[in-house]
Symmetry: C2
Subunit: 540 residues, 2 copies
Amino acid sequence: MDGRLSTWGWGYEERFPDRETRTLFGQQLRLITGFEISDIREPMILEGAQIPPSRIEAPAALAAISSTDPRERATRAMGRAYRDIVRGFHGDYGSAPDLVVSPTEEEHVRIALDWASENDCAVVPYGGGTSVVGGVELEDRDAFRGVMCLDLRAMDRLIELDPLSRAARIGAGATGPRIEAQLRSHSATLRFFPQSFEFATLGGWIATRAGGHFATLHTHIDDLVESVRMLTPRGVFESRRLPASGAGPSPDRLVLGSEGVLGVISEAWVRVRPRPVFRASASVRFVEWLDAVTATRAVVQSGLYPSNCRLLDKREAMLNRVAADGSNVLLLGFESADHPVEWQMERALAIASDFGGQCPDGPQYRSSPARESAGPDVRDGLAERWRQAFLDAPYLVNSMVSLGVIADTFETACTWDRFEALHAAVIRSTRDAMKRVAGKGMISCRFTHVYPDGPAPYFTFLAPAKRGSELSQWAEIKAAASEAIASNGGTITHHHAVGRMHRAHAQKQRPELFGEVLRAAKQTLDPRGILNPGALLSLG
Amino acid sequence: MDGRLSTWGWGYEERFPDRETRTLFGQQLRLITGFEISDIREPMILEGAQIPPSRIEAPAALAAISSTDPRERATRAMGRAYRDIVRGFHGDYGSAPDLVVSPTEEEHVRIALDWASENDCAVVPYGGGTSVVGGVELEDRDAFRGVMCLDLRAMDRLIELDPLSRAARIGAGATGPRIEAQLRSHSATLRFFPQSFEFATLGGWIATRAGGHFATLHTHIDDLVESVRMLTPRGVFESRRLPASGAGPSPDRLVLGSEGVLGVISEAWVRVRPRPVFRASASVRFVEWLDAVTATRAVVQSGLYPSNCRLLDKREAMLNRVAADGSNVLLLGFESADHPVEWQMERALAIASDFGGQCPDGPQYRSSPARESAGPDVRDGLAERWRQAFLDAPYLVNSMVSLGVIADTFETACTWDRFEALHAAVIRSTRDAMKRVAGKGMISCRFTHVYPDGPAPYFTFLAPAKRGSELSQWAEIKAAASEAIASNGGTITHHHAVGRMHRAHAQKQRPELFGEVLRAAKQTLDPRGILNPGALLSLG
């Protein structure tokens, strides 16, 4: 699908439902949540919006690939957190960059970094703009003479493929569909399907340590990166293609999670694979949440390595139309390009059954040559419904804002011994905060990824908005949730990154001396401090 | 087994064979290599050795745990590379530290670092002392007023176990057997069995990114570390226990491979597992080396994740008594605590067979409750012979030095597309160098670990020594091998670390700007530069 990207909301402008559809959605939502939903509003048109005038002009060498057009700047003013969509909906583009530069080659990036260094101009490396943590927006644009958005999406080519080693060299600006389309002609796939798949880019995934398709084993983009190339104000930082190395600390691991503050990722060698031929999927129902958690732990500790192992609590299962009977549902999947996966699925179901899991429809097996779809592609029954809901979910927030519903997600990871207390505390704190600021609210939990030593729980909350106070309501709920996570041994983020929103908690979470090392790394690579100022590391 | 550690050679003093046994070994060696072996020498006794007098005295607070005894200092003068064993054999302990401090608690380490910082004393964090890359030896001890060996082996306790998350908190000084003995009472195992297993320590493995038991998937200690605690001259650097996190670059990954130059690792949480119950092993013979390589690649790209997948070329197979018929041998193993592994083994054998692999004895299966052995424990047929040879191999070098044979190993990793050329170049260059300096020599290759995108080849070479010139002979061979690796896309080390021996190549291999970042990290954590000076990073 193609189209014009929304200036304010998630994804394509055309996907924003008409008023009638939103009315129907509001009625459904009221049935599920009990919220009063009557007041349906429309986003402010761009002509009435607040977009600060551009303060800078592109240098001549970049003029042909630069724009100061208000629409271009507004679209890239912020990420796509609930907080961002609310502001865009109300026409607040106060954080818009002064200039959008769209390099088509590395030389452009080099020129841009040189020019910005000399002109006290902040540079925000920009991929899909799908950050939900304030990753692409300066807090104080007046601290710089200008802010340049460096939009890398034109650097999106499959540059080289090594079929023997199953690795591909890909431009950092390639989006999910672009990566898959180019790999498909070589019968290869990256199989990295985060919720941002349609829009986010390889470079963005690397910079934020994004989480993808596989619920176990190769959960983060980290596991798929063979080497990276990053352009810094001090020059090129490029690691060698190696399957593994023990020669000191890994240079790749400094780039992974660097969130644009150390350099601009221009390309990477990533590990690809043949498209799966053998697939199994099943959904297992549990009456009791803690039984489902124990079963999920047993499956992930079995060494079976399911590709899908996502546990939805009963609210998630209902919201995602995976189960309407109040069950908690564990979605299991196995896939292989080499061998049938029946055996693994049967063993996983046997484990789940030991803890009361029921699989009334039985597992579904498919053995087929590679298909043509570019997206996540488990097509069977409930798993298919889950998949569709998964990709559509971010779009729902656009409608929620119109309907006056606060809707957000947050996520973490913790060891199994802490999970029960963390889960209870997060649910309680978030509910209490929603009650305080909105009178009511609902919160649900799923596991997006699981490890032998702990799960990655992902929470979704909904609360009725007070028009005009959405942002302060949201901020209080978010603060309560984050505090509950941090004080119960969870990480402030498993795969949403730090940006500016999670910065204070990330700072407390990491060893203080490691924070100093990160600052020293930034001072080394970006001595003028122009790169994505305020992301990951606080200023000054 | 216990005993007194050799001052000069690998392992226990008692394990050095008597003259008669060495004579027999020399005869066998002559049959295999064709080298003239007649001159059997004895190591210099310590009383005649050159051990520089201690220049410093322990501070009062550490007096009870310190020693300046010449034997204690000589034993820790260097690692156990061929180069080191030759020097020790000849009584050259010129690199001996001035002081050995053996902390039993973190407070001792803190005092030692403070005192050393104030007294211009270098500190070498010391575990098993099994480095083969000059990891524990200063090049210029006169650059400091003193050199302290900080021997961490008394900090070896299993401090805490979290059975739910399958993780254990262990003192960094614990050796392999000590770790397994403590975990066994909890029915758990780390299953990390490098060749240094008997002597090396958890902290040493983390500092050097050691490679262990598993030939695929969880190959390095990196994969088993959940969090680390490191004491630096600036204070404590401790990461949080998390199964995964996306909150910026990983602090653990700075510690992994830091080789004692950033801090002293005091403990770590590591991922443990139940002892395997189901095991399969097989040895597959190939007439042609490149067929064997292709088969190994196909197996590792299948997603079957064998625990053992070690390919020996015909010389390795012969030296290790795994095959005498000139076959190349792929040793395959699968293991699980949860489910039978017949299916995986059969699929792996079918893949191998597609490339001409023969398994005349068929696979062997065992299903048994956890056994009592603390070592690597595949006990079947050829695999067992391989295992014994694996653990004994480092001991052989002691005898080789006595018999006048140069014997060393080196290792790398590269992508599959580079392997054939790299292998040919390394064999050729090393043979040429051996011919130049020794008239003849033999070299063999095996894969210790394999990845979907490339193998980790490991080379062993033997050449006749000219008495008194061993070190210069060895240096020329080593230089030729290293150069061939570096110029053919290999890493200078896959799991032997950098130390001082690989430093120049590691420096060329890593991004230059990453080298600057490492220096900035060292400046941040160790501002006086007292920690293991010259390892990983050159001085000045």
